[in-house]
């Protein structure tokens, strides 16, 4: 019953999406208010229907309804409750439903937080989002129905892949989806604005909070994925340049460019066409990511069960959505005049350079990811692209970007002169080099990359602090002055400090990590730099849906016990391959990492892998600070401005003749 209700709800959602997409569109051309007004209720009804459908699927999982094929394939009776819920989005069909639901959530949010937006514009925005919803709902109903029933009901389901039975991985997809589905809002705004021919600063201002929030969630989603991979996959890696990882990183990079570009278009009315193109590009990358993950066109450890037929559907969808938006761009963008005027040496230029670097980075990653497909298609042979290439590109482009970050922050809008900043900038550069060098002296060995990374990190830190203090140059830093500082000012600087923290993390971890495989009998110790790892043997253990071994390793430094680490090796009943649960002793400046290998001999000896990972937490911490900065910036006066205007109007009408 419930699965049928869910299926029915999906169809209802599709109908609502059609109404949402078509009627307001007609209304916006014919100026019929009733058709325009259909947009909001249709969108809200679609969200309601999607919520019902989603709830039905969750119910099917929680109640072990193995008559539903998707439930039978991804869960079993031994699966703990929380993972039964997260299994809903653990495979292709369910994750599509999550995609559609997330789009519904964003659409619903747009209907709520849109008082300032003229109704025709809003109608067009919702219509565009409606068309995207139609695509995903059709895709689901036709090729990937999560509610499909099995004719013979199994008594036991398969299982959720044990790798996915983890809290971090449970929330990673929703966060990620909220992120890159959220770029559909900026996309829809850009399309609606180009359509109406009014690509102006108002459009940019409306788009900003939506883009910021989407960017924040995407940042957190990617960070969660990286952190999860680190502690779950067992080998201490935190980024693999896997095609699916790249599929989430590319929209993030372009999204970052978009956040910066929108700021310029909002404040200075420049780059209008470029910003619109970025909005299209960011969401197109989100859709492309969906294609790459589900079509089977690339090999990836992450990809869902691939099916070229599904791939074709998404490809056609991609052509329709992105193709038509780029066509619109090609026809409308030439008509847009950006009146912002700026000199060569100005913040506008710095931000344009920021955009250029970020976009080249995103395209390089795209090119590298798709290179094997392209060379095979051109019959040039099968070429391999992997971490060495992507790391090279990242360092190559990240370096000028970090340099630019500092300059961009204290360059003035519109026109600045070189002489004004040359002195403070040079001083800061010199200090950064000195401090960077000193930092490297503290490290076990010298590395030119480490030096580069640390100098850049210091440069970002010093220039950010300097830029922040610029505001208080002529006044004292009093609490009231700090209080009057707009949140966006805090947000920007905090986010940039997050970049610095991230940079330190990746530099030090990449270069100064160490790893060792050892064979230890119970009672044996191994010394790795200042830490002594003593193995105390491993005992058998049993869990809710697995059995395995748990080892005990005591870590001491200078005779003092630092940690008791309990690495596990689990064999889930439903699988054959064992899973590592590495023991990690987390620290601010270092992680200690121990994984069980295999038992050797009869004396209880085990092979163990020991890792020392310095500053690795700074990577995720830095990303979280970036997201925090974004959050603080989003709480800026955007919404307060509307209230203030209403208040001013009220006083104006109360006291006629008084200046507004």
């Amino acid at each position: 019953m419930i699965p049928e209700l869910g299926q029915f709800a999906l169809i209802v959602a599709l109908i609502c999406a059609f109404i949402q997409a078509v009627l307001p569109l007609i209304g916006s051309f014919t100026r019929i208010p009733n058709l325009i007004a259909v947009a909001k209720p249709a969108a809200q009804a679609q969200f309601l229907a999607l919520s019902v459908a989603f709830a039905c699927l969750v119910y099917a999982f929680v109640t072990h309804d193995f008559s539903v094929a998707y439930v039978a394939q991804n869960s079993n009776t031994a699966l703990p409750l929380i993972y039964r819920v997260s299994a809903v989005w653990g495979a292709h069909e369910g994750s599509l439903l999550l995609w559609a639901l997330t789009l519904g959530i964003w659409t619903f949010a747009v209907t709520i937080f849109s008082r300032q937006i003229p109704s025709i514009m809003l109608a067009r925005v919702l219509s565009v989002m409606g068309w995207i919803s139609i695509g995903f709902l059709l895709f689901m109903i036709i090729t990937s129905n999560p509610f499909e029933r099995l004719l013979t009901v199994p008594t036991q389901g398969k299982d959720l892949n044990p790798l996915l039975q983890d809290f971090g991985l449970a929330i990673h997809p929703p966060m990620l989806y909220i992120g890159y589905v959220g770029f559909s809002v900026a996309f829809a705004f850009a399309i609606a604005a180009m359509w109406s021919g009014r690509l102006d600063a108002a459009w940019a201002r409306w788009s900003r909070p939506w883009t910021n929030v989407a960017w924040i969630f995407l940042t957190l989603g990617i960070t969660l994925g990286s952190w999860w991979a680190y502690y779950e996959l067992g080998w201490g890696g935190w980024w693999f340049w896997d095609p699916v990882e790249n599929a989430s990183l590319m929209p993030w990079i372009v999204g970052t460019a978009l956040v910066h570009s929108l700021a310029v278009t909002d404040k200075r009315s420049s780059f209008k066409a470029w910003t619109a193109l970025l909005a299209i590009f960011a969401f197109s990358l989100s859709l492309l990511g969906t294609f790459l993950v589900r079509s089977g066109v690339l090999v990836s450890v992450h990809s869902f069960a691939s099916d070229p037929e599904r791939g074709l559907f998404i490809l056609v969808f991609l052509v329709l959505v992105v193709g038509s938006s780029l066509l619109l761009y090609a026809t409308r963008a030439p008509l847009i005049k950006s009146h912002g005027h700026f000199a060569l040496f100005s913040r506008e230029t710095a931000l344009l350079l920021n955009n250029v670097i970020l976009v080249v980075l995103a395209i390089s990653i795209l090119g590298g990811t798709l290179f094997p497909i392209i060379t095979v298609a051109l019959e040039l042979g099968k070429y391999s692209v992997g971490a060495p290439y992507f790391n090279f590109i990242f360092v190559l482009l990240g370096t000028p970007l970090a340099l630019l970050l500092g300059f961009g922050q204290f360059t003035r809008w519109k026109q600045d002169n070189f002489e004004r900043i040359v002195r403070p900038a040079s001083i800061q550069i010199v200090i950064s080099i000195i401090l960077g060098g000193l930092t490297i002296l503290l490290m076990p060995h010298f590395s030119v990359y480490a030096l580069l990374g640390m100098v850049l990190a210091w440069w970002v830190a010093i220039s950010t602090v300097y830029s922040f203090l610029q505001r208080f140059k002529n006044k004292s830093i009093s609490l009231s002055a700090l209080g009057k500082t707009p949140p966006s000012y805090y947000g920007t600087h905090i986010a940039h400090l997050g970049v610095m923290i991230f940079c330190i993390g990746i530099t030090i971890t990449s270069i100064y990590s160490s790893k060792k495989d050892v064979l230890l009998k119970p009672g044996d110790s191994y010394q790795m730099s200042e830490f002594s790892y003593r193995f105390e043997g491993a005992k058998p253990i049993v869990g809710p849906n697995y059995r395995g071994y748990e080892g005990l390793v005591i870590v001491t430094k200078n005779e003092k016990i630092i940690a008791e680490m309990k690495p596990q090796k689990r064999i889930y009943f439903s699988q054959q391959n064992p899973m590592t649960e590495a023991a990690i002793d987390a620290g601010v400046t270092r992680d200690l990492f121990v994984a069980l290998g295999e038992q050797r001999g009869a004396e209880g000896a085990w092979t163990l892998r020991l890792y020392y990972k310095p500053f690795i937490r700074w990577i995720w911490f830095g990303a979280v600070i970036m997201a925090l900065g974004g959050m603080i910036a989003t709480f800026d006066k955007r919404y307060r401005r509307a209230k203030k205007r209403v208040a001013v109007k009220a006083t104006a009408s109360a006291a006629p003749g008084a200046p507004a």
């Binding site: 514009m121 067992g234 040039l380 070429y383 064992p578």
Partner: protein, 167 residues
Amino acid sequence: MKPSIKPNMKLSAALILPILLLLSSITLSVYAGVEVREFTDAEQERRYHKLIDELRCLVCQNQNLADSNSQLALDLRNKVFEMLAAEKTDQQVADYMVQRYGEYVLYNPPLDPVTSILWIGPILAVIAAILLLLIFIFKLSKTTPVTLSDEDRAKTKNLLDQKGDDE
């Protein structure tokens, strides 16, 4: 026409015990990745790790030999170690693998006209984009900025103060 293949019941009955025994030992020994090796010096250890990081596992095609748990990866890791112990150079190890598995096994393929697009492309793109940017900004500086007349300024202010419900 495809003949249907029926699972053979006799297989399971006669071999359940040995299979179970075999499987239980397989689950432990197939779990590869942690191998204790006796390196002659730190340099050999460094070379070993670098090589297995930059060779692709063809079974788990998106993992390198270091990270992959597959049997083939284990065999190849052993091979790499064997070759290093036999004093082969890094290049000889790479050549050995390429001879058997093709260029695709290297994560860092040698530079040839095709791969050079990937490596040089971004550099050229940035330079080109910066040049275009400079040209654009230069052209922009040649135009006069638009300024509002006082009348237009007042009109705009009035419009902005109204709550915009129309287009």
